[in-house]
């Protein structure tokens, strides 16, 4: 009986989860003269600099956003992990809460803040700091803010889970032995939280590469992200094959990172308890 369940699960799983791996095959099956046209699509992607540019830009944006998340999120995760246990859960809840409210609405909140006559400009102008409204919306700056804002909880949670298990006596020992706090952090906390950092960064980096909503709403027309290119090819140009080719390339690009994430996760659970 239990094996029957497992068998059933494995089937339902294959049914449900396999599509992300072979969208191209679906398309090939749909179109009988597919394979040759197929290569043309890829050739097209490589000859048109727009696509390569979009790929490169997505990687850059995702990398920088991950870095910024890390700079902001590491001290937060560290602080939460070192807080009193009763306070810890409250702080953690506060980190998770924005994640449960709609992403779209949170991005929308930034539009209200960053607009030319938005909250930030109004406050700064009434304080007399600036006299002309700053242009912040529809710039790369707005896009970075949006991505960092949306993905910050994804970085804090795994990092916190990792730091929580840490033995803080190690730090005290280091200080007793004459380490300065920064040195102790650099030599002990940082290496020990390596898996948490990697897992959190992957959780930010991988989805950020393919992000569509945030660049579309905050980034303005110049924000060339591959998720947006795919969306436009699909919905605006109705070029399904090209969109599929873009998706495949994106997938090929991201699979190594996903596998890396898997192995980090495996190590974390193995060494965790």
């Amino acid at each position: 009986m239990p094996f029957a369940i497992v068998l059933k699960i494995s089937f339902s799983d294959v049914d449900l989860a396999i599509p992300p791996y072979k969208p191209l095959l679906e398309w090939v099956g749909k179109n009988s003269l597919a394979i040759k046209v197929n290569f043309n699509n890829y050739a097209f992607l490589f000859t048109d600099s727009l696509y390569l540019h979009a790929f490169a830009n997505s990687l850059k944006v995702a990398f920088l956003s991950t870095l910024m998340c890390l700079i902001l999120g590491y001290p937060m995760a560290y602080g939460i992990a070192r807080a009193r246990p009763s306070l810890r859960n409250v702080l953690l809840l506060l980190v998770i809460l924005p994640f449960w409210t709609s992403l779209l609405l949170r991005v929308y909140a930034w539009i209200g803040l960053l607009k030319a006559n938005g909250v930030i400009n109004n406050v700064l102008m009434s304080l007399g700091v600036i006299h002309e409204p700053l242009t912040m919306l529809y710039t790369p700056f707005a896009m970075y803010v949006g991505i960092v804002y949306s993905y910050l909880p994804f970085l804090i949670l795994p990092l916190y889970a990792n730091l929580e298990k840490m033995d803080w006596q190690l730090l005290e020992a280091a200080e007793d032995l004459g380490c300065r706090p920064w040195q102790a952090f650099y030599k002990i906390t940082l290496p020990l939280s390596r898996n948490g950092i990697l897992a959190g960064s992957m959780l930010v980096f991988i989805p950020a590469v393919g992000e569509f909503v945030i660049p579309a709403l905050l980034g303005g027309p110049n924000a060339l992200m591959i998720g947006r290119v795919l969306w436009d090819e699909f919905f605006a140009n109705r070029a399904w094959p090209v969109a599929s080719a873009v998706a495949i390339l994106l997938l090929i690009l991201l699979v190594p990172f996903m596998m890396w994430y898997q192995s980090v996760q495996a190590r974390e659970t193995a060494g965790g308890r």
Partner: protein
């Protein structure tokens, strides 16, 4: 172990939480603003509930919310069933063939960029329709199935990690006393992992309620979900009604999360006693 934190850490936590919450709070405040210019505070007529009335009379948004609710409830219930089975299989039967594949397949959707998942699911639906004539056209059904593919992954992870700390002696005792495996599952296992299943349900509901990208790919004419309507409205510019919607969402989510965590804390106390 001591809980002292340096001023540096406290400052970082402060900045981090300000960053997470200022946008949300600004939306709440401006939802009571009378002016149609969303971010310019009209002190003569505010606070007012006028946009709340206007939202509750907006047919387009209400229809979309109804569709979103239907999809989210069906999705959450379906993914809880499938996800619990998969999580159970992963946690309990460590030596079946394809375990690694199943593991990888359940976690892949967690980090997969949504544009890829959405596009490939749509192509799968199209191919299926041509092969076996089902699903005929796209709409609520396809959207729900699509949502289940990624929500299920989250449920699986939650249930799996809960089962990792499960004391199997309880099940063995029940079986020694003559209970059949199915009965053991429903009488012993299910009640104990119920909190994990509940969090899974809530998470699956939220993910589906919030999803824009995958819904856009897999929905058909006449089945626009709430995020799709909000997205098209936000693209055209800000609207006070969206602030109201955000405030209501935030209120419901906060109440739900606080309720569930209080309930779980109480349950944990009862179990300990």
């Amino acid at each position: 172990m001591n809980y002292r934190s340096s001023y540096f850490i406290l400052t970082c936590i402060g900045i981090g939480f300000a960053f997470l919450y200022i946008p949300i709070l600004s939306m709440v405040v401006f939802s009571f603003n009378a002016s149609k210019l969303v971010t310019v505070w009209d002190s003569a007529h505010s606070p007012t509930l006028k946009w709340y009335y206007s939202l509750l009379n907006n047919e387009e948004i209400l229809d979309a919310a109804w569709i979103s609710l239907k999809v989210a409830v069906i999705n959450a219930s379906g993914s809880v069933i499938l996800g619990t089975l998969a999580g159970f299989g992963l946690a309990r039967f460590s030596q079946f063939r394809g375990r690694f594949t199943l593991n990888a397949m359940t976690t892949a959707p967690l980090v997969m960029p949504e544009v890829i998942t959405g596009l490939s699911l749509l192509l799968l639906f199209v191919a299926l329709e041509q092969l076996i004539g089902w699903p005929a056209g796209r709409g609520i059904t396809t959207m729900t199935i699509a949502h289940m593919t990624f929500s299920m992954a989250y449920v699986t992870v939650i249930v799996n990690s809960r089962l990792a700390t499960f004391d199997t002696a309880l099940e063995e005792a029940a079986m020694d006393l003559g209970a059949r495996p199915v009965k053991v599952f429903f009488v012993i296992t299910l009640p104990i992992i119920f909190p994990a299943i509940l969090s899974g349900w809530l998470l699956a509901f939220t993910l589906s309620w919030d999803d824009l990208v995958i819904s856009s790919f897999t929905s058909g004419p006449g089945s626009s979900t709430l995020p799709m309507v909000v997205f098209s409205k936000v693209r055209l510019g800000v609207s006070p009604e969206i602030n109201v919607l955000a405030t209501i969402t935030l209120g419901v989510v906060t109440a739900m999360i606080i309720g569930v965590s209080l309930w779980m804390a109480r349950r944990a106390r009862l179990e300990a006693a």
